[in-house]
């Protein structure tokens, strides 16, 4: 993926295919710490513990029965390459919460890209789904 907005589009498409009716995307820039935080929460089908433990591995895909493949591992890689962090939590029947932390000044940090185009395309192609997007900065 060239930029973070494409990663976000990919992850939210996963949420949609997992049956979500509501997806929240939050980007928060902590300027003094040089950190960009990405949170994506959905109310989709969620994953069991076994799936959750291996979902961020690039060598795992279960396209036969599940709704994800390489996308989560690529986002995790993008975060870890900046010496950031990645965390994913999920409960079956409740939803999935993903947190990625990026070190903004790291040379391997990807550009944000056209995040508004990502949100617009999601909104237009899935009008039945509630998308909440916020992008803020915190200089404290």
């Amino acid at each position: 993926m060239e930029d973070l907005s494409l990663h976000i589009l990919d992850i939210v498409e996963n949420s949609i295919r997992a049956g979500s009716s509501k997806v929240e995307v939050n980007l928060e820039e902590k300027k003094e710490e040089g950190i960009l935080l990405l949170n994506i929460n959905d109310n989709g089908s969620g994953m069991d513990m076994e799936t959750l433990n291996i979902v961020s591995s690039p060598f795992y895909s279960s396209k036969q029965s599940k709704n994800f493949g390489l996308g989560i591992s690529l986002l995790k890689q993008a975060a870890l390459e900046t010496e950031g962090s990645f965390e994913i939590n999920s409960k079956e029947g409740i939803g999935t919460e993903l947190k990625a932390e990026f070190k903004n000044e790291h040379p391997d940090m990807k550009p944000l890209g056209d995040i508004m185009l990502t949100i617009k395309m999601l909104r237009l192609s899935h009008p039945e789904i509630e998308f909440l997007y916020s992008n803020g900065s915190n200089s404290k």
């Binding site: 060239e2 498409e13 185009l117 395309m121 009008p127 803020g136």
Partner: protein, 126 residues
Amino acid sequence: MKLKPEDLKKISEKMEASTNLRSGAGRAKITVHMGTCGIATGARDIMKAFLDELEASGKKDILFTTTGCAGLCSHEPMATIEIKGESPVKYVHLTKDKVKEIFEQHVIKGNIVEKSALGRGSERVG
């Protein structure tokens, strides 16, 4: 910067004025493949190109939707065009120029653009 619910509503209303997205019985359906492979190779721009064509045409009987990976990752970005009563046609290695031609020729006039098509059929069985 925050995108407020009313902004999203405006975006949605703008498109709903000219298209009938994912609902009702359309004459034609456009499906863009938005798996990881598709997105990595430009599916978002292909999606935008189709939506721009759709909006410009003013047609209200064309459905638009997205789907995941079709298992043909090396052919991405891809889209499937389905005219009511006919087999779906899969288009591969899409560009904005190809989208324009496919929309004008196949979606509007019903003529398959063979040079850009992989073939008839769908990856979903049953």
